[in-house]
Symmetry: C2
Subunit: 297 residues, 2 copies
């Protein structure tokens, strides 16, 4: 079998981001951690950790970390069945990729329900665009992901969750200033849009549909779900906001839809590795349940 | 002088993340963009763009992009004074690094006031930890940053903004479950903490002060300011939340302080390049004004 003391050191360095902090969680010295990681690298003949601030895994390192996390989760399940092992029970960590808007709307509910059911398993949530979370799954960085991909990632199971509804919204003052002449290619090309990051294509897709042609829009970049809503309210630009986040604001009239009834739905799915991990199955149940309360069927 | 058509192509590729999208914003073909970037790379004898999804700049590429953005901002100021140039006025983009909690509390107000005053300048906000935003400034990725660094970055001016107050908070049910015996090294070592990401040391700092010694805590990782508050409310863990985000929840008793009166203040400063850019000076004014309304003096 693999030398799990070495693997555990590697996983801790990547999880904690530094050799010093990994040493503290493992209750050994930093030089012991460094030695173990180096030994593993020598055995495999390749670099596993990019030494930086924070430290991160190479592609090979990620595969080993994923394996170590899976083994820790399996150990956790075993300990639950074999109370004699319980005395030195540790914490297992489940790495998951979530899109920012799910994290801002329904995912925290799933996480809280999961933590209640599995009090010895911690969640390591990473945020990425819904079109890119599956890449993290594929790269072995996470064991599960909320993704907009319609195909299951290799070796993964895909569970449809429903559709997150996005509405093109702006403040009434913003609409009066920029869209008094209607929403078309000409007005969209002059009105700054809010865009989450380089991976966010939602505003572009909506504008293309609304204008009947591709439109080059001026853009403010703002990578924060709640910041996006706040910036829409403050009149910085118009943007595609998740309907659950702006429902009350639309009802109150502090935000308005640019084109009534032009919502854009993004179908989301839960993708997870097929390896049978009881904790992962439990998280899947919590995710499906929480998504049902917020997403459109 | 430098060939600005080439520089403009490079800056567009890095800003948009792809050659195709850069081509659309410049109204040329993707192959023209690719040719210009390659020509620039040949002249300099080094790679400027890492071709990927999205494309990103190398260290040398970043320096050139920063320069191109500065020139665009100066052009914007010139056009405002020379209306004859106005006819082909474009949009300038000002790249800024902000810590997530500032973006979730006071920064959007500054951005909105700035956009009102400078309607032809767009903001490109990047999010990073307050202890790491200055690195982005130093690396030439941004022209200004909200930072916790006490020293100005090289070539930069530092304007103190005030202190963002953090309170160690949890739900009353969480406190009853984990801290019925008080908050000390033993109870903290068993109660899951929320941690934003690998760069977030706030929970660790607070716990060390509260326990009088370093404590290894189980941690859920959750990189979202609003998600952090939601997860605290839902009982996933305890965490250091910005006081302005939880003030109402503390007053209502839906969240409680772990140790009353144990807030931790993080002094923030605005750092910006010393190059005289009128738009940057305007943004500085808006930032100082908005920070004053939220941060502790």
């Amino acid at each position: 079998m693999l030398d799990y003391a070495l693997l555990e050191a590697l996983a801790a360095v990547v999880r904690e981001g530094s050799f010093e902090r990994a040493a503290r969680t493992l209750h050994v010295t930093a030089s012991a951690v460094s030695q173990r990681v180096r030994l593993l690298e020598e055995r495999l003949g390749q670099v596993l950790v990019v030494r930086g601030q924070p430290c991160s895994a190479t592609a090979a390192g990620r595969l080993l970390c994923r394996h170590a996390e899976q083994v820790a989760l399996l150990e956790g399940a075993l300990r639950a069945e074999l109370p004699a092992l319980q005395s030195d029970a540790g914490w297992a960590t489940l790495p998951v990729a979530v899109n920012a808007d799910s994290l801002a709307t329904w995912f925290v509910g799933a996480a809280a329900a999961f933590a209640q059911a599995e009090p010895r398993v911690l969640l390591d949530l990473g945020v990425d665009d819904q079109d890119h979370t599956a890449e993290r799954l594929h790269a072995g960085e996470v064991l599960a992901a909320v993704s907009a991909d319609e195909q299951p990632a290799p070796g993964c199971r895909r569970v449809p969750l429903g559709r997150l509804r996005y509405v093109a919204t702006a403040s009434p003052a913003y609409v009066a200033r920029h869209f008094a002449d209607g929403v078309d290619a000409a007005t969209l090309a002059r009105a700054p849009a809010l865009v989450f990051d380089r991976k966010d294509r939602l505003q572009q897709r909506w504008a293309q549909r609304a204008a009947g042609q591709a439109v080059e829009m001026p853009r403010h970049w703002l990578p924060s779900s709640q910041g996006f809503v706040d910036a829409t309210l403050a009149g910085l630009g118009w943007g595609m906001n998740p309907e659950p986040l702006v429902r009350a604001l639309l009802a109150a009239g502090t935000l308005v839809e640019l084109v009534p009834g032009s919502a854009l739905d993004v179908p989301l799915a839960w993708q997870h590795t097929r390896i049978a991990l009881p904790a992962l199955q439990r998280l899947t149940d919590c995710v499906v349940e929480a998504a049902r309360g917020t997403l459109e069927p």
